[in-house]
Assembly symmetry: C3
Homo-oligomer: 270 residues x 3
């Protein structure tokens, strides 16, 4: 049974979601259509890529992921079909490829469009492409091979000796701030040394990393590596991003110390 | 496989959605239940009709569309079953029929209700009616033929020689303002003449219509005919309705000129 | 065909929903995954329990209800599997059992967790447990029998002679305030006597109960017993909770009179 997921910035109050679902179910009423999110902020590619990247590989091979964010097509923006680890993506040529794949996807094509593309073709082109794939029609008949495409690059932390300059890349439903500092990077740079995490300023800092939210008291600021291996700033039962005024791109700086910082030694009696 | 769509003003945080889904899946766990929107503004029939009208005809024939907006039943409001172009609708007798069909639907019935209608029967009556249709039970056993029903009429633009007085009928997720001026009406009244579109006042005006969002620079006010053939006021990558303070019923006036207006000739040197 | 429902405080903009759906559909692409709500307020167990309790028993026997609200697991919070009236629930040991069942569920188990529980195991443990149940694996292999678990008790009204001290337990999408005063309690205490319902203060009061929303004029304050048999304070076509500043725990007091209260007699001339 075919599975198609939808990630859009349409919100739920428009008729686009119903149009896509109606046309797809007209092909085969048993197709599984999975809403991943229709609440991506308008035009926010970073958010869309973060959501899709962190859940798409849990779907069965061959699942089609339709990503309609910043999706007004036109002469400048073609529609792409690409594959990463046997997952199939349909998305505009707006830079999201790089945000999803890190580098080059395994396969990438541009959808043929013989009609004069006006904005109202945009949604139809998405749907027709999905239907062609579901029906198992040969790629060659509806796409062209391409070698050039737009590609945004995910924000990566800047690394120096004993220093990681990272940033917040996502704020989740619980107002936890997820950073671009992976556990791997942290361990490689830190080599097990003592450290301090500075959150936005020198005012808020932490010198340890928890293993769970619940091993700190309620209301306490904490950092942990979350389910996708990224450093996350949270307040147990609280709203870290709201209280600390963290948003996408807020700076998170981690300093490692060959010896423990003096102030801490003094305060804690080491 | 039966398909049933849901369009409601229940929002997602109540138990009504779960109740409908649970009861329907108890009949047959393979039924496709499609959420079109649960975020219609409370009691907003215009919005509900706009959403459903613009996506329902993409579903397979025989799809059941349950529309529970302004749905408190009672002695004054019966529940209706009606058909338009082989799509089946279940909705209260609150005027939405006219908003969906323009005129008279192909078939229309009133659901029998032998019980004393208190508000808590309302949801059950919706569900029981859907289940009767899914099970293929003969209409006569649960509905009565009617000839009178409430019917609101969609706002249509007022037309004079060289003038269209239209209005905004919907604001979408991107803050684009969709008007009731169709491409057909525009071309019939305009006959290819020069024109100016006045948005709310004489302050904001446009004298051309784009074919895509992306053929204007970012931040520019523009007008285009959208995927459903209606004139739409937008700002490329911006929020037209917010910035121009447009809402449902805001006036959009289009003047056609036998000769181009003097001010434009002067300014553009055209 | 297996049915699994989801009730979470994840909202729709995160990747958790996609992760759960992807992993479950990887087992069997035909499983029905039903979104009940992803918009429970973060950590609000009362709201989650209210929603689930009032719709879950409409699902077919054997339906699995996954409730991930206040779901950060850890050494203190285990994951539970329990059954009430042949519905199966997966939820943390955070007190929601009592809110759902009133008392003890029919069966209750604690999920075995041989791995070191860090927060990122939390979601996996939920999903693995659901998959074990869907696959029909014997309970003994993945759960342990328990006799002690956390259990919050639903707020019940306090009853005296001729008096019910109730409170608001839920505010719905229409801003209606649902109280914990059941029709049964009302009739048992009231014995058909005249009464006054005091809403928050002595300022707003009602001396009758409607049978439907629509048997009062638009804008009028009213009380009725809703579809789940609880006293609800509403304004016909209005927003009762907003206008009267009602929220969860707002006091609703009902006084019964052996004779009609003097003030009313005077005013109405009754």
């Amino acid at each position: 049974m075919a599975i198609i997921t939808l990630t859009t910035d349409w919100n739920k109050s428009d008729y686009y979601v119903g149009t896509v679902k109606g046309k797809i179910l007209s092909i085969d009423a048993s197709i599984q259509i999975v809403d991943i999110s229709h609440q991506v902020q308008p035009f926010n590619l970073m958010q869309a890529a973060f959501i899709v990247r962190n859940c798409c590989f849990n779907f069965p091979n061959g699942t089609i992921h339709l990503i309609a964010v910043n999706a007004a097509l036109g002469p400048k923006h073609s529609l792409l079909v690409f594959e990463i680890n046997k997952q199939i993506f349909i998305a505009p040529d707006n830079g999201i490829v790089g945000l999803l794949s890190g580098e080059k996807p395994d396969k990438i094509f541009k959808v043929k469009n013989n009609k004069n593309v006006t904005n109202f073709l945009s949604l139809d082109l998405f749907i027709d492409t999905a239907i062609n794939i579901i029906k198992g029609i040969e790629y060659e008949t509806f796409v062209d091979t391409i070698t050039r495409f737009e590609s945004q690059i995910p924000y990566r932390p800047v690394i120096e000796k004993n220093l990681i300059n990272g940033s917040v890349i996502y704020v989740d439903s619980f107002s936890n701030a997820i950073t671009n500092v992976s556990k791997e990077t942290f361990e490689k740079v830190g080599q097990g040394k003592a450290f301090e995490i500075f959150i936005q300023s020198n005012h808020y800092k932490l010198d340890k990393i928890n293993t769970t939210y619940s091993d700190s008291i309620s209301g306490e600021l904490l950092a942990l590596f979350n389910s996708i291996g990224l450093l996350e700033i949270a307040i147990n039962n609280g709203n870290a991003a709201d209280l600390l005024n963290l948003a996408i791109n807020s700076a998170i700086r981690i300093k490692f110390y060959d010896e423990k910082p003096v102030s801490k030694l003094t305060l804690t009696g080491g």
